[in-house]
């Protein structure tokens, strides 16, 4: 007589639809708990203490938040961060769309051009900022050498108050513009062509086709770009590290958090600043997510 072995507990669970989903997703949940939830809640706890890496943390209630709310340096950094986020998004999406439209056709050397467009994304952000710091130096930089050939006086990209901030924006856009370009290009290529062809036959102009047909269809992708880039821009750090280090009125929120927590070791206050940054990011992401869902439903 054939002996049939009883399946093990794990086998039984894996074969069961309900249990198998949880078993398969459990490693991810564990990673999220350990590397995301635990640090976030631990930081939240720290933000209510005066921990300075000596002794044990003492609970101080809302003192750190009260300090942050009355701290001019914090509000200035927050305002600059919001400003840089909005400006970068407008430039990246506008310019990204224009370049994506130009690339959305067949032309000689298109693969080479598209490959070159992708290069900035491949450079490590810190290397990028160091590279631009040297390239844009007022006396030793190659960029000023080149514009000098056109008879233009050298420009203090990172050494002029006001301009230094826009130079940070410029190098950040330079690095991340390809992200918008290629997401939008992928979107353009995936749009159904028959509707546009029909509209053209009816005599509708290309501008109208773009604004009335293509752009609404691309809205979900644009919102995804805004969502992701907002999160990243709120944490902008690398462009500062290799260039101004927060000097010349360029200090952003993430730099301030880094300085407070890892240079001044005021862990309580630094995590309070970080919590503020998290709240702002969550609000923006929540708004964008709702718009995204609505746009996807409309489409």
């Amino acid at each position: 007589m054939l002996k049939v072995e009883k399946p093990s507990w794990l086998n039984r669970k894996l074969n069961d639809d309900k249990s198998s989903k949880w078993i398969l997703v459990s490693p991810l949940i564990l990673v999220l708990i350990v590397f995301m939830l635990y640090p976030t809640f631990y930081s939240l706890y720290m933000s209510f203490t005066d921990y300075i890496m000596r002794g044990s943390p003492d609970f101080v209630g809302l003192d750190n938040y009260r300090f942050a709310l009355t701290d001019d340096v914090f509000w200035t950094a927050l305002w600059r961060t919001v400003y840089i986020t909005v400006v970068c998004l407008v430039i990246e999406i506008g310019l990204g769309m224009a370049i994506a439209i130009l690339l959305n056709r067949n032309f000689p050397g298109q693969d080479l051009i598209k490959g070159l467009c992708f290069i900035p994304l491949l450079i490590a952000p810190l290397s990028m900022s160091l590279m631009w710091n040297y390239m844009l130096h007022i006396q030793f930089g190659v960029v000023n050498d080149l514009i000098g050939l056109l008879g233009i006086e050298p420009i203090g990209w990172f050494s002029t108050l006001g301009l230094a901030f826009w130079s940070i924006i410029m190098i950040s856009v330079w690095q991340w513009l390809p992200f918008s370009i290629f997401v939008l290009l992928a979107g353009l290529k995936s749009l159904p062509k028959d509707q546009f062809e029909a509209a053209q036959v009816d005599g509708v102009s290309k501008w109208t086709i773009f604004f009335k047909l293509q752009l609404p269809m691309l809205t979900p992708l644009i919102i995804i770009i805004v969502l992701l880039r907002s999160m990243w821009l709120m944490r902008l750090f690398d462009p500062l590290y290799g260039t101004t280090r927060g000097g010349l009125d360029t200090e952003l929120l993430d730099w301030m958090i880094y300085r407070t927590t890892f240079v001044e070791f005021d862990i309580g206050l630094g995590t309070a600043y970080a919590m503020f940054a998290l709240y702002v990011t969550l609000i923006v992401c929540n708004l964008m997510y709702k718009r995204l869902m609505a746009a996807m439903e409309n489409n």
């Binding site: 005066d50 300075i52 890496m53 000596r54 130096h137 007022i138 006396q139 030793f140 050298p154 203090g156 990172f158 050494s159 002029t160 108050l161 230094a164 260039t243 101004t244 280090r245 927060g246 000097g247 010349l248 009125d249 300085r259 890892f262 240079v263 001044e264 070791f265 005021d266």
Partner: protein, 477 residues
């Protein structure tokens, strides 16, 4: 006869003492006794030329003692943060840490006092160790000690500031004559703030003007400054402030010499404001780009022949500054104006969490010895040992590069040593944090974001907050 015998005994005894003290002061690898604990030790290093110079000595120590050594080189900008985290967390990640002298008091609970280690491991004990360090500059030794006087590190590297200037410009007969006509006194390395300002103004010229009789094809500037938001601009301000007798804050001690409080007196606040204002005046004669510069760019300006002086430059940059000869220049070094430079130094300090304090002790004694430091000095090293600097070979081919910076630094050490005790840098347990605040405020003053008066106000606010939060010595308002 009796007097001859007595005299002979005195001579004999003196000779014996001299021989013994010389013998005790001398220290080489062969003097290290067997280290039974072979647990590897990890050494933190500042990345760059200094790491490259030290690593062969670490390897030699490891080979001789059989104790494996690993090392981790970090750029200065991250050195404090990385080491601080490991020390305060008690991880034992580093057995020997690089300690900037202004971090000494902050880390006093994490560093093992050297005299205790000497008593435990060294046959010559603490007394012998004191003789061993007697060749160090007294001021730098004080900086490597806590405010209570406990030596916790062996200084091995200094970056004392000095005025590095174009000797060929200041000794050019045409320039000297023009300067005397304009300012009414002889052109030479400045010794007062006004002289520095005058020389900076005098040598700031447009393209098309003449310099040493030759037409300039690009602008030339009087001074190189490090006004960027890096930990250098506040050192420049410190030299200006200390040179005028001011302090960032006064250190008050009780009758036993214990530090009991700090305060920013009205006189110090006024002098600080003057120092900030003076720096802004100097900035007018610095090249564009100085607003975001650190020592790298400031020295490059000089080497490329764009500036006449780097009035507050760290002495390790002397060697590179000698490259100005490639553009027809000649460098020379003088004391900074006021002779009170930022006399920074690194000392190797053993962490209390080290699993091999014995090896850590012998390593830092070896690296900080006269013999090792002299060998390094003759390779262009900026040693903190005065006796090693005295032994720099001034007849060697590279004598100008290796030794040319020494005399002005040594004279400043002598002038400044009695005052080290009074500097906030070497008495506050919050100084690692205060340093960052000084950087921010001095930078914002330099580029015009804050006025000198606003900068003083910002400093008072920051000092009060950080000193109270990170140290237990009170602040008198």
């Amino acid at each position: 006869m009796n007097s001859i015998i007595k005299h002979s005994k005195v001579i004999g005894l003196s000779s014996l003492v001299f021989a013994v003290s010389t013998a005790i002061s001398a220290f080489t690898l062969d003097d290290i006794p067997e280290i039974k604990n072979k647990t590897p030790i990890n050494v933190a290093l500042e990345a760059g030329g200094s790491a490259d110079t030290i690593i062969p000595f670490l390897e030699a120590f490891s080979k001789k003692t059989g104790v494996p050594i690993t090392h981790e080189a970090m750029v200065f900008a991250t050195l404090y943060s990385k080491e601080n985290i490991e020390l305060q967390s008690g991880t034992g990640a580093y057995d020997v840490v690089v300690t900037e002298t202004s971090w000494t008091n902050e880390w006093k609970d994490y560093l093992a006092p050297l005299e205790d280690l000497a008593n435990k491991y060294d046959p010559v004990g603490a007394e012998g160790f004191k003789k061993y360090v007697s060749g160090q500059d007294a001021g730098i030794l004080r900086m490597a000690s806590t405010r209570d006087g406990s030596l916790v590190g062996a200084p091995y590297y200094t970056y004392t500031q000095q005025n590095i200037y174009r000797k060929d410009l200041l000794t050019d007969t045409g320039e000297m004559s023009a300067f005397k006509s304009k300012y009414g006194y002889d052109l030479s390395a400045p010794t007062t703030q006004q002289q520095l300002l005058d020389i900076a103004e005098f040598f700031t010229r447009k393209a098309g003007d003449k310099l040493k009789g030759e037409t300039l094809d690009k602008p030339f500037y009087g001074v190189s400054l490090m006004a960027g938001r890096y930990p250098h601009v506040q050192d420049e301000v410190s030299a200006i402030l200390w040179g005028s007798g001011g302090r960032w804050a006064r250190t008050n001690r009780d009758s036993n010499g214990k530090v009991v409080s700090f305060e920013i007196t009205d006189d110090d606040a006024n002098k600080l404001e003057e120092a900030f204002a003076y720096y802004q005046k100097l900035m007018k004669f610095a090249p564009p780009g100085s607003e975001n510069a650190f020592w790298d760019f400031a020295t490059a300006q000089f080497v490329e022949g764009n500036t006449a002086m780097i009035p507050y430059m760290y002495c390790p940059l002397w060697n590179w500054s000698s490259d100005v000869e490639k553009v027809g220049g000649m460098n020379a070094a003088a004391a900074v104006v006021g002779e009170r430079p930022y006399t920074g130094a690194f000392h190797f300090a053993p962490s209390v969490d080290s699993k091999n304090l014995e090896a850590a002790y012998w390593l830092l004694k070896y690296i900080g010895s006269k013999e090792t430091q002299t060998e390094m000095v003759n390779k262009g090293w900026s040693s903190a040992r005065k006796d090693s600097l005295d032994a720099c070979d001034r007849n060697a081919e590279n004598a100008h590069r290796n030794c040319g910076w020494i005399d002005s630094v040594a004279s400043q050490w002598e002038a400044q040593a009695p005052e080290i005790e009074t500097y906030l840098h070497f008495n506050s347990g919050a100084f690692g944090k205060l340093y960052e605040q000084m950087t921010i405020i001095a930078h914002e003053n330099a580029v015009g974001i804050k006025s000198p008066a606003e900068s003083v106000k910002a400093w008072k606010k920051a000092f009060n907050r950080f000193q109270k939060k990170f140290d237990d010595v009170k602040v008198i308002n």
